[in-house]
Symmetry: C2
Subunit: 430 residues, 2 copies
């Protein structure tokens, strides 16, 4: 039995002029991947009739499952629904369930007064040859079409499913989770796709590759190895799929353990967990609390930490001491230090950490100060220069970094090295 | 003369399992768009020989310019370079300039000791039938290939350019800006693409669409109108292209002014500027300063504000008072208020704003407190309930919101409504 392939088609001019970053595809790919569907292609096309039609035709020849997002809104630039109707040879009819749901949303949830606009009522129209998927979070329903199509590499037509979803991310997510995945699981039989990821830090992609050269050569063909470098870390990921999940798990364990032992001294984690989640786990285990004192990262570290549900258990909060005045008033950095060494200096970040520990009463604190660019650099303190300090009541550790990126990337990179530095500090000072 | 079309091909399994969100395509699309190239398709394929080959073939029949990112790194999962070499019928040779650059990077910039690894030296190998594009920010060069290809809608072969770039965003960005765009401008002649965007807030997509129904119907066919809803705002964008830029500008002015007058009462901005940039401009004009007091947004508002270069001119910093204790110690929220009304209450956010104004000495402050989920909700204070307060020394204004999204989206949505609320408050209390 073969693995099922999927294509994702995203529709909308905003994706093609670069106005919107496509996060929908990543979510859909993750969810399909979990149930053993391999997404082989993602295609984005504009709100152009001919281009959408062609994409439906082409992807249908390549994939068993085609997921389409976007183009279902109530406005005139959304042409997907009538197009799908024509493509699958159906007619638009009013679906009474969807109609009742649209009315419910407008009257009870959005609390609109006055009559519902015709364009909203039209959202209850669906092609009569699709299965309607209930969109609990919005007015545009999902649609499931089926067609027998011969694939490029196989003359015999096989069942091909087209699923059309709205482009609004939280509506799309709801539909994928509650409707699409359960229905796919009922209609097809899937292999298990297994990923194993080890996260390393401290060495570049090339050095890691050199370390595991022989391992990589000896790896069976059905297990793929990928290098995923990001923020000074390299993730190594093994992937394979099989209908015999237990056997594959055993096989993957064997190779994964080999891999981990080869890169042992650089291992950060043996699971692909974001740094802020790992850190939260470490703090929670120790019943320890944390605060931040951010200058150049401007609240981004704090944002990463609080993006984790339940972070209030270990995160007390922090200070974004962007001005020198706030460094003095809230964090008690001495005016003398600021005058003598400047805000971007080892002395200042050390005092920021001490101040944060005192002001917040937390067990650990992390502080950043640097020049993120594009302006503000000097010869002695160029753009990309950053000081990061972590500490508790017994000791404080400081590191200097030099990044060469744009402002946004410098902020992200600083936040990531700071969280990793803090993670290592807590583990070492346990 | 026809507009040139482009396709963007991104290569990498990480895009297809949803591990990485594709931000490269958005950047490339923006830059191409500026010089009048219409990106008609974006395609993502995995590290699979056959799939990459097919994508090159298919996009070549559709587009004049094909930009390929990813798959040029030093590790074995990167198969793009040998594939491109074979696809265009060339041979890999060592490029002396690239070799010198790789050595320079490793010895002078990365300060590696010991011999350079063979896999890094191999990055100096390029197909002998491409034009090498200098990558100042990394070791993998860009490559420019040309081929005559007949398009689907035209039997006469035309010049088709394939440009291969590394997938590391800051390397790709450098190459696009300094090499790709200038070379495209030398080799082709481009029309101007003109966008005009008006940002509205306070009404949904359907209501706005109803207001401009007649305008939309009467709009000439070569001018496209798009609705782009996000974070409680709706952006309306007009797009058209022409080789006669002046004439098109005049025409666009006419229609854009009509559009703006129709939605006048909801207009936030007549340019597509992010809220945090608009707000910065407003503060700068007034030589006013700002601070934040964030609970539920956990530093995200502060991050948005400081993501703007030069924000230190008007942003003093702020407090992420995640715990009740920090609300009391740094922001002087009274224990009585917290006990009686709770942290998520109108009274608490008002005291947070007052505390922020006092502690930081800023002219304006904004505060948030709410329940972002997934846990922590009660019947009286459900997940998604948020209080936002803005104020200066003379007055304070408060709003209650109810969002229905996941944690991440609730945080973003709160930050956006808070910035918009603040913007309106400053304009009204001038």
């Amino acid at each position: 039995m073969q693995t099922l392939n999927a294509s994702i088609i995203t529709i909308g001019d905003e994706l093609l002029i670069g106005q919107t970053i496509d996060t929908n595809s990543a979510f859909i790919a993750q969810e399909l991947n979990k149930i053993g569907v391999w997404v082989q292609r993602r295609v984005a096309v504009g709100d152009v009739y001919h281009d959408i039609w062609n994409a439906l035709e082409e992807e249908g020849k390549k994939s068993d499952i085609i997921i389409i997002t976007g183009g279902l809104g109530p406005t005139a630039d959304d042409i997907t629904k009538p197009l799908l109707c024509e493509y699958f040879g159906g007619q638009l009819i009013v679906d009474q369930n969807v109609l009742a749901h649209v009315k419910f949303l407008f009257e009870k949830i959005y609390r609109r007064t006055g009559p519902i606009l015709e364009r909203n009522l039209n959202q209850a129209q669906v092609p009569n040859n699709c299965i309607v998927l209930h969109n609990a979070r919005g007015s545009a329903p999902g649609m499931w079409f089926e067609k027998m199509i011969a694939k490029e590499n196989n003359k015999v037509p096989s069942k091909t499913v087209y699923i059309s979803l709205p482009g609004v991310p939280h509506e799309m997510k709801g539909l994928v989770t509650t409707e699409v995945i359960p229905k796919l699981l009922r209609e097809f039989s899937f292999p298990s796709i297994i990923h194993r990821t080890v996260v390393t830090s401290g060495q570049g992609e090339s050095v890691i590759a050199e370390l595991i050269k022989d391992f990589e050569t000896a790896l069976p063909k059905h297990i793929k190895l990928a290098y995923l470098p990001a923020f000074g870390m390299v993730r190594l990921r093994l992937t394979a799929s099989s209908f015999d999940k237990d056997a594959l798990n055993t096989e993957m364990d064997f190779h994964f353990n080999q891999l981990v032992s080869l890169v042992k001294e650089y291992v950060v984690s043996e699971s692909d967990t974001p740094l802020e989640v790992m850190l939260g786990e470490i703090l929670r285990q120790r019943k320890a609390t944390l605060s931040t004192a951010e200058s150049c990262t401007g609240g981004y570290i704090s944002h990463l930490i609080t993006s984790v549900a339940g972070s209030s258990e270990y995160f007390n909060g922090g200070v974004v001491s962007y001005s020198n005045k706030l460094k003095q008033t809230i964090l008690s950095v001495s005016p003398h230090t600021l005058k003598t060494n400047g805000a971007v200096s080892e002395e200042t970040v050390r005092e920021m950490v001490k101040g944060a520990l005192d002001t917040t009463g937390s067990d650990y604190a992390v502080a950043t100060s640097g020049i993120m660019g594009p302006g503000g650099g000097t010869e002695a303190k160029p753009v990309g220069m950053v000081w990061v300090t972590v500490g508790n009541r017994k000791s404080i550790a400081t590191k200097e970094f030099h990044f060469r990126f744009d402002r946004e990337r410098n902020i992200r990179q600083t936040a990531h090295v700071a969280l990793d530095f803090l993670r290592k500090f807590i583990l070492a000072n346990d």
